[in-house]
Symmetry: C2
């Protein structure tokens, strides 16, 4: 147990991390060598697939992407080593878009290493602060020394990220100017569904202007809602779920040891409940609420409360006055009656006087009034008082886990008075969010991202555009992973906004008929009453468990096989 | 990346964990072999030290512990292998007392293995649910099969814990009856300062009644406030601080990547700020508030707010509108003016009518009124509305991190109006508590606890009582760790309660002249303005960093050397 103090990385270059000292684990990771799929280790050729279509409304997508629609997806295949490979130099830009996800730095390292190894003399520019960096031509040239301290590290701080979008004609013009100024052969956009839609619009725009700049997307989001057959998972999901599951597992053991608390854990993921579902599969909580199920079954807040209360009562009968409950961040967005109430409140608050005696409530519909009265006092007040600059009720500010604790308490008191409940209930609330977005990427995310980036380099080098980097066959050993690119237009549908068709990559929601949900649904009743808690423990980078991927990915891949 | 599903432990016995599946990491840990200090690997003898005294008021301690006061501490030393060792069988009880701390299961494994290896045929009873288990004689016989699945695992769920105390003559009588009924040769009490005081009272009581039952304590608390020269650290502190530091490191990278949030992180530790200080040393946050310093300098809430605001303003000038701030859970307990306000509020709320117009406020002293008006509206309301069953204001319910965010916002607005601040401030609050109490113990805690337990077995086998198991020289390789027992009376002082002297082991607070605080104080100004963030990453059980102990322990041991 000799003390080993934190030390500086001697060769650390002049970056934001210069003044940092690295922990032992960071140091170990920075020098961790990553395996590559074998197709990326040798000379390769590109095999084009059949013409593609769209996820929906192909006619509209064809109109929106006249130059790109229908283009085939591309697969890398080993080539005859006697065939000369292209070795021309490239100028490539890369940008991080949207919220952090563990592994982003490795995508960039992958692109860089591809260029170093396959297109010597190439240049890689990192646009700073997200898409705004493209528009403002704010960039840094990424060198070996610059990239080194970020290898296998969490965060997006190598070039930082941003949430701006390139939308208006003026903004597209700015992007063109940057592409021309830097003489870019290609651009890699690392982002979620919106950012990849944007990447495709850029690709279309550059092509329509006869610019040589090609655009390749990369699937990033811890929420796990950007995926399809060709892109089995978005990066960051694996690491984030494992970090949250470590915490949930710890809280479970705590719950069982003290025997006196119900822990309500809200998990990041506003749109889809993949994180909550994956964490449930990893840890086996007593209760898990999946937003997509709530929406599909048109459940009310009362239904959700009753489901929790029923389990609490049954557990009390077998002397378990404790438990762990997982809730997706976006739960109340899935409940139709809540949306109605919010809409009515916004209307009333905008036009009417809210009198203390409560006469204003008569303006609510019966259903909304009933729901409003059902809400805990504190939430009622929060809805009335805290509003955004437009005067709208701020649903996102509601701490769903605390609201549920209060509603469960109230309902349990009712049942106690009816003689149906004799237990003790004490709720503890948790929100696991920011802790998971910037962790050190797992071996899976580190390797997957590196392949995504390396593959993106290969696609650009082959002259491809409008594709999303696609690494698949992920349940096989890394050598057997497949690498290619999927036509972004093939993932698109349209939505009507302000009277116009807008292309969108539809978020992949939790499928109630999908293997992960069905696995969960087949076990949850057992988990509810027995305590089948699993404590995944901290992410390990070597030894047993360090190369296990997540349940969602494994179950989905197995069901496709 | 082959998927390895969770599997059951084939030999798992009939316990609460039977229905559990174990994660890969849990499985790896359960079979992790622990090194022992070399003195425990061979025949040993006990060397008694000089007569001991007390930490304060030795005359009173002598009166309270007539049979134990003055007894020497004991050190284990290698003995001549030709001298026959005692091998008589023992009946030993063990109890977990108070809040969870990672490593408790290993103390029990250590006792068990000592008995198996050095006193074959012995019996180990685990009292269930804390000291109440002793009083009610609720126990389970701990066998090899029973203990196995808990080896190196977090939590206290092997026998669970409780917060009852053995205090009244009737309760001591119950404990005696249990000791007699089970024919106990010894009892190991695993707990914090209060529980070890209680252990010593039990030892004194058993001795005074001529019972053969000896009592040995073990130092447990994640708070790190039970320690002295002979007991360099309490177990669980190392693991808990590393779990919190993993999360803080992640949040730091997030802060730097987005560049738009100040994260206010409240950390467990109501009495002492050791956890906050250690996490600061591990991660280098921009601002750290240490309760003991606030108390020593008699800082007001306004002073603390101003300190934070000053740093936020200086950082805004160099374009850093983000940062990470650590706050100990017990912060407001350290602020004298808050205590005065609370006392006055309790008095007023008990006797007066609180009128809406605020006339009641005239009953507050000038200082308290000023403080009350300084508090954010929400906190004012919380103080007035939420009271415990005795009608008292519930200080513990105040979410200090949220209160500080609001106070900082208000102060920044003032400075903005004065033209002294031009930045953007957005606060995000976090509380890291339950996540850290039941994690898988680090290699250090696992090994330290095993030695504490094994040593406790040796002390009982040698007929010792009223000692706390003491494993020291912890910066040396495990083989060189020293093992022994320190007279519990030597750690005690008295406090006057209800007109009587009560023995207490004084909590070890953060010493402002101690090496850890001085190290922190010498670096904090640099950390405030530069971003020297360290991300410790997840606890590793093998490879680099896995055997590093915490900074507090290393710095304290080095300064003593």
């Amino acid at each position: 147990m000799a003390p080993v103090p934190n030390g500086t990385i001697p060769s650390a270059p002049v970056t934001g991390r210069l003044s940092s000292v690295y922990s032992e684990v960071q140091k170990k990771r920075v020098d961790h060598a990553l395996p590559l799929p074998s197709v990326l280790k040798h000379p390769f050729t590109i095999i084009d697939g059949p013409p593609s279509s769209a996820a929906g409304n192909p006619d509209e997508i064809a109109k929106l992407f006249p130059h790109l629609f229908g283009q085939p997806s591309a697969a890398l295949a080993p080539s005859d080593p006697r065939v000369a490979q292209t070795h021309h130099k490239l100028k490539i830009g890369v940008v991080l878009s949207g919220g952090q996800a563990p592994g982003g730095h490795n995508v960039i390292s992958g692109i860089f290493d591809y260029l170093q190894e396959r297109a010597q003399g190439s240049t890689l520019y990192g646009f700073r602060g997200g898409p705004a960096g493209i528009m403002k031509c704010k960039y840094v040239e990424l060198t070996s020394e610059y990239i080194y301290p970020y290898r296998n590290q969490g965060g997006f701080d190598m070039i930082c990220s941003g949430r701006d979008k390139i939308e208006t004609p003026e903004q597209f013009k700015q992007a063109e100017e940057t592409a021309k100024k830097l003489d870019l052969d290609g651009l890699v956009v690392i982002g979620g569904d919106d950012s990849n839609t944007n990447a495709c619009l850029l690709a279309e725009n550059f092509r329509s202007k006869n610019l040589k700049t090609r655009v390749i997307g990369c699937p990033k989001t811890i929420d796990g809602d950007l995926k399809c057959k060709e892109v089995p998972t978005s990066f960051g999901f694996d690491t984030a779920c494992k970090i949250y599951s470590e915490m949930i597992g710890n809280v479970m053991i705590d719950a069982r040891s003290t025997g006196k608390y119900y822990h309500f854990v809200r998990l990041m993921g506003r749109a889809a409940s993949h994180i909550t579902l994956e964490c449930a599969l990893q840890t086996h909580p007593n209760i898990t609420i999946i937003g997509e199920e709530v929406a599909a079954k048109k459940l009310t807040l009362k239904n959700v409360t009753d489901y929790i209360v029923d389990v609490v009562c049954k557990r009390a009968e077998i002397n378990y006055n404790y438990g762990v409950i997982l809730i997706p961040e976006g739960l109340i967005d899935f409940i139709p009656e809540v949306q109605h109430l919010i809409a009515e409140l916004n209307e009333i608050l905008a036009h009417d006087i809210v009198d203390e005696s409560g006469l204003w409530k008569k303006k609510l519909s019966d259903q909304s009034l009933k729901l409003f009265e059902f809400l805990p006092q504190a939430i009622q007040e929060q809805l009335m008082l805290e509003r955004d600059p437009h005067g709208n009720v701020q649903v996102a500010k509601i701490e769903t886990e605390k609201m549920l604790i209060q509603m469960v308490e109230t309902e349990l008191e009712k049942r106690r008075e009816e003689g149906k409940y004799k237990g003790d209930f004490r709720g503890q609330s948790h929100f696991f969010g920011y802790e998971g977005r910037c962790g050190l990427p797992t071996n899976f995310d580190a390797t997957y991202c590196y392949a995504l980036g390396y593959g993106a380099g290969a696609l650009l080098h082959s002259g491809k555009t409008g594709l999303i980097s696609s690494v698949a066959n992920l349940c096989a050993p890394v050598e057997e992973w497949t690498v290619g690119g999927t036509a972004l237009t093939a993932l698109m549908d349209v939505e009507r906004r302000h009277g116009k068709f807008k292309p969108v990559i539809k978020k992949a929601m939790v499928e109630l008929e999908g293997a992960p949900f069905k696995m969960f649904a087949s076990l949850r009743d057992e988990w509810a009453l027995k305590n089948c808690y699993v404590s995944p423990g901290p992410i390990q980078f070597s030894g047993p468990g360090s190369d296990v991927t997540n349940h969602t990915l494994i179950l989905e891949l197995e069901s496709q096989a």
